[in-house]
Assembly symmetry: C2
Homo-oligomer: 308 residues x 2
């Protein structure tokens, strides 16, 4: 039996300790713990890594604290456009959706694409047409309305600024949720979901629905889910970069992910972090900014963390 | 002065010699030669690799023989949705558009995204909104209408089949144009453009607008443009994979691209090929199917080829 385990994140950025109340910290941590344990329990009873990451990410999507699903930020039109991707390390099958509206759990739609389509990435209305024979939960605008997010948007509306979720600086862009897992069968999987950037325009697609950039899984190496400044993760092809350092340079997950986040992404000028797990169950969660909402659990240990 | 050069492709697939007339072969070859030489002349007078690949790809987009720009195939709604991406190996800056309609030269729109946006990938209507302050050439449906493409679509319309351009088998999907170049300053660039697959549905996005999958350029390694079965190139993160083999495993461009196309892509079940150039001006154009429309030129030699 493999050394199964899970790691999740709820985004990274300039998470100021001074602006964080005790209640808020408890709320974030208990949401992370819940999502992690939903995934872990699936692994414990022999479920697949794909099921575990889908459950964990769905739980984070249902929580208004994180920028994905229910908690998604407002775009320049005051709407919610959701992106998600999922990859199975066993066979490299992948599914992803970009700029879908009204979908309660975009990660579940990405999983439908993985399971039932010859394609990998479907966007907008087209993705919803694909989904129509399947019963997926749809929600109206009220469900996604959140006063805090609305106020974030009001401050930027009409300007050229855009903002990452867990950041007070405009033109920064973090705010994603994700999960990676290794199951008892030795299979890896990764999943990522996001509401994008506050006030985003022009049908911008970030790293989250891109296989290789925001998400990658391969049983030969690792499973990775990224969060941070999406455009830099796209230039760096960060998720696959970590896998390549392991495969081609023989590096460990810890060394490869550190190199990718604390050297290569920084050199590009990007902020962010990843959660990763390898086929031995080793977990890495490096980030190069103030904080990253994150949690992990395997048979030996468990943690829920925000700061370094 | 660097050993400047250019390589281009017009798609790969089951290009049957028995179905190719002499006139058709001459038409393809002269279009390839023209596009290649437009790019090469820019390099010769000291222009940048980015300029050279934009010119070469624009020329292929203007030719009805190739599935990009004017020659784009019909999607399931009888429309033309165009994808393109471009990357500068000097600074890793990139621009891309997905599912844009009515744009004469999608590669020039991708270059505008590279030059004038904080984002990398813009889609659909949003990309056109971004473009509106710039004077880009727009065309109506008549411009993109082509009897051959229309008949290809009529055969599949209403079915679940889709087809790659240079293939008679349904559910195959090739048909892309692309270019890579090294300029006298030692800078690399890559560009890719496509009309997607005949009868494509659901807002499918393939590898062509994805940095890392269809396009990648990095002065430290190589510039790559892919063509072939898009979903497999996405799973393989093929363009970046070649760069990683060079960077992390110390392989040559020739060996890395052969390994990626003739081993890894084949193992995944994918058809296709690439054009690539490294910082020394070495050119590679491997493909694992019957043919690939391709041409290259540097100071030592020049070629225009279709079959192995």
């Amino acid at each position: 039996m493999y050394n199964y385990g899970i790691a999740i994140h709820g985004g990274a950025g300039t998470i100021s300790k001074s602006l964080m109340s005790e209640e808020k910290e408890i709320a974030y941590k208990s949401a992370l713990q819940e999502a992690r344990d939903i995934g872990y329990e699936m692994l414990e009873k022999g479920g697949s890594a794909i099921e575990a990451v889908t459950l964990a990410v769905s739980s984070l999507e249902d929580c208004p604290l994180f920028n994905a699903g229910k908690g998604a930020v407002f775009n320049a039109e005051g709407e919610h456009e959701l992106d998600a991707s999922i990859m199975n390390g066993k066979n490299l099958e992948a599914g992803a959706v970009a700029a879908v509206q009204g979908v309660r759990n975009p990660i579940q739609l990405a999983q439908l694409v993985l399971n039932h389509s010859d394609h990998i990435l479907l966007m907008g209305e087209g993705a919803l047409k694909f989904a129509s024979p399947f019963k997926i939960a749809m929600e109206d605008a009220d469900y996604f309305h959140n006063e805090h997010r609305f106020n974030q948007w009001q401050k930027m509306k009409g300007s050229d600024d855009f903002q990452l979720d867990h950041s007070d600086k405009p033109k920064q862009y973090l705010g994603t949720v994700g999960a990676v897992a290794l199951d008892v069968h030795g299979d890896l999987a990764a999943a990522t979901s996001t509401g994008g950037m506050t006030n985003k325009k022009f049908g911008r697609i970030g790293d989250s629905p891109i296989i290789g950039a925001g998400t990658y899984a391969n049983n030969n190496t690792c499973a990775i889910s990224c969060t941070g400044s999406g455009e830099f993760l796209m230039k760096g092809v960060t998720a696959y970069d970590i896998s390549c350092m392991m495969e081609y340079a023989g590096m460990s997950l810890i060394d490869a992910s550190n190199q990718s986040i604390n050297k290569r992404l920084l050199d590009l000028g990007g902020d962010g972090g990843i959660v990763g797990i390898d086929r031995a169950g080793n977990i890495a969660m490096p980030f190069n900014c103030e904080g990253m909402y994150r949690a992990s659990r395997n048979q030996q240990e468990a943690c829920v963390l925000i700061y370094k």
